[in-house]
């Protein structure tokens, strides 16, 4: 069952559309990652999912139920930790107990607050009585997480929880989130730039750009400027001078991004014996990582600052002894490129039936 289902969501700030999601669901009990540059709409999406704001248009279903404005009961089943987690001007203990108290749920309060503090690695005896200004950045972020965990929410929404905190704090927060999922089956949605963490913990990663969900993780996106090179043909000069060529390009490729599915990209040690019909670009193998949930090995290849995501089969990796730092060729089918409109101001020009995709 889906914990969230979003239908035709549009959200505007001052008349300007900042988020538009046609159809998206999140499976119950899953961990979902939101990945994308600053300003791509991750925080806005989390704020809608946390029922802090109401979408300007569209419908959000929570566990199958329609949600409307000021639905306090549903809001209390979800806990959002905002990006700038603000501690109330009270002691750490009172901060953690706040959510319990406004729910009128004060049974075993002391025990639960102490437990929540220890989950995020803060010693209750040392920290309970501290005031909001007596904590470091990492400690106050952990206290803010404890204030959400103590509520045992059905859904935990984390907005860049580890950004700007020390490594030890980040580690403890990651563990606390994973424990909440394991012990209570909490569904978690995390917006983060920490791809490695997302790959490690998430069942599903979605890529966001310019207020849109551009599909599941693993896609490689190539953003403009595009040059029209023929009918249906567009080219993008990469930072190192190589040219990425693609077919099926829209009439006006300005404001669009080209996307490649990982299975349509392969890596090769040399340019010889490339599969027919494929184009190739030379890059550097940056990272090999294991995706825990799928068991696949994910390779990141940098081509002139653009990251290509490939899932090479283990035999290829072993045969060519690919190591990070090695020069490799990434090959792709130019005719299997998908095009997405990413800039909101050109929205009108897009196909009416599939406003985001050509």
């Amino acid at each position: 069952m889906a914990v969230y289902r979003l239908e035709n969501i549009v959200h505007r700030y001052g008349g300007r559309p900042v988020l538009s999601v046609e159809d998206w669901s999140v499976a119950e009990g899953s961990i979902t990652g939101l990945y994308g540059p600053n300003g791509s709409g991750k925080s806005t999406l989390l704020s809608l999912l946390g029922f802090i704001e109401q979408p300007s248009a569209g419908q959000i279903y929570f566990k199958g139920a329609k949600t409307g404005p000021y639905n306090g009961d549903i809001r209390r089943r979800v806990a959002l930790m905002p990006q700038e987690s603000y501690l109330l001007k009270r002691t750490v203990y009172q901060n953690i107990a706040y959510g319990l108290r406004i729910r009128g749920d004060s049974s075993n309060e002391n025990k639960r607050v102490r437990q929540a503090l220890s989950t995020v690695g803060l010693d209750a005896d040392r920290f309970s009585k501290r005031r909001w200004y007596e904590l470091s950045g990492g400690e106050s972020r952990r206290a803010a997480l404890a204030a959400r965990l103590v509520l045992k929410p059905e859904v935990l929404l984390l907005d860049e929880p580890t950004a700007g905190v020390d490594a030890a704090s980040a580690q403890m927060m990651k563990k606390a989130a994973a424990d909440a999922h394991l012990q209570h089956g909490t569904s978690i949605i995390i917006a983060s730039h920490d791809m490695q963490w997302l790959e490690d913990i998430c069942h599903d990663i979605v890529y966001m750009f310019s207020g849109k969900i551009l599909g599941k993780g693993g896609k490689t996106f190539i953003f403009g400027p595009w040059e029209k090179t023929g009918p249906g043909l567009a080219a993008r000069r990469m930072a190192d001078g190589q040219v990425f060529e693609a077919q099926n390009a829209p009439e006006n490729p300005a404001g669009t991004a080209a996307a490649l599915e990982p299975e349509d990209i392969t890596i090769h040690a040399s340019r010889k014996r490339l599969p027919s019909g494929k184009s190739a670009l030379k890059g550097t193998l940056m990272r090999l990582s294991l995706e825990k949930h799928s068991g696949r090995v994910r390779a990141s290849v940098s081509v002139g600052h653009t990251e290509f995501i490939v899932y090479p089969d283990p035999q290829t990796l072993a045969l060519h002894n690919h190591q990070p730092g090695a020069s490799v060729w990434v090959a792709y089918h130019p005719d299997r490129v998908d095009w997405y409109r990413v800039s909101a101001d050109q929205h009108q020009a897009a196909d009416a039936r599939h406003p985001d995709r050509f």
Partner: protein, 228 residues
């Protein structure tokens, strides 16, 4: 210079021997300022919150009016209240002229813009993330208002203190609306004005000292609260 020191010495004598006339003025001051502060905080804090927190058409204009009212002269308020509660005035039948509640009405008008303007500023200067934080922890609308005010408590307290200082030390309203009636509506400030006019500096100074002591006691109390 001698009369000043003499005045100070006499001041202590008056205070520590429990001079009845002095204590009557002190009691009148405390009673009337207590009444006007209770009224202005009850009305002013919710209005200040609304002005600082809510977005509504005409908000800026309302703010401008409140800020202008900060400079209301006390004698003008005295005149206004006098004309309303005097026999010929619309509220003449209530018999409020030359009574402590009459003075309290005038002082409430004096304190109200201060409480409204400063608590609006207090709420406005809270961090923008506060609303999201409270909502994300499950606060309903009532808790949102109460917790927001609690977050601004230090600045709201400062607003109350500023208003209290203004109310305690004003002469115009007390003199015009209260009439400076001995044993009844004579407050510390009207007594000082009277005693100085009569050349009795010592009594005036004693009363001035009492005023300062009350201010000290209130501030000490607030400072204790602020540390908690």
């Amino acid at each position: 210079m001698d009369f000043i020191f003499q005045g100070l010495a006499e001041a202590f004598t008056l205070l520590f021997t429990g001079d009845a006339e002095t204590f009557s003025a002190v009691a009148a001051t405390l009673k009337v300022s207590g009444l006007s502060m209770a009224a202005s905080l009850t009305i002013g804090i919710p209005l200040g919150f609304a002005l600082g927190y809510l977005q509504f058409p005409g908000r800026r204009q309302a703010r401008l009016v409140v800020d202008t009212l900060l400079s209301l002269p006390t004698v003008f308020i005295g005149l206004l209240v006098y004309s309303f509660i005097s026999r010929q005035g619309p509220l003449g039948d209530m018999g409020l002229l030359f009574t402590l509640p009459g003075i309290a009405i005038g002082q409430t008008i004096l304190a109200l813009p201060i409480v409204i303007a400063l608590s609006a500023t207090a709420v406005e200067s809270l961090e923008t993330g506060l609303r999201t934080t409270l909502l994300s922890l499950g606060a309903g609308r009532r808790q949102l208002v109460l917790s927001t005010l609690w977050e601004a408590r230090h600045a709201v307290l400062a607003a109350a203190l500023t208003a209290y200082g203004r109310v305690m030390t004003e002469v115009g309203i007390s003199m015009m609306v209260g009439g400076n009636i001995k044993w009844d509506t004579r407050t510390i400030t009207t007594a000082i004005a009277l005693e100085t006019g009569r050349g009795k500096f010592a009594t005036g100074m004693a009363l001035g000292l009492v005023l300062l002591m009350i201010a000290f006691a209130v501030n000490a109390g607030v400072s204790f609260l602020r540390r908690r």
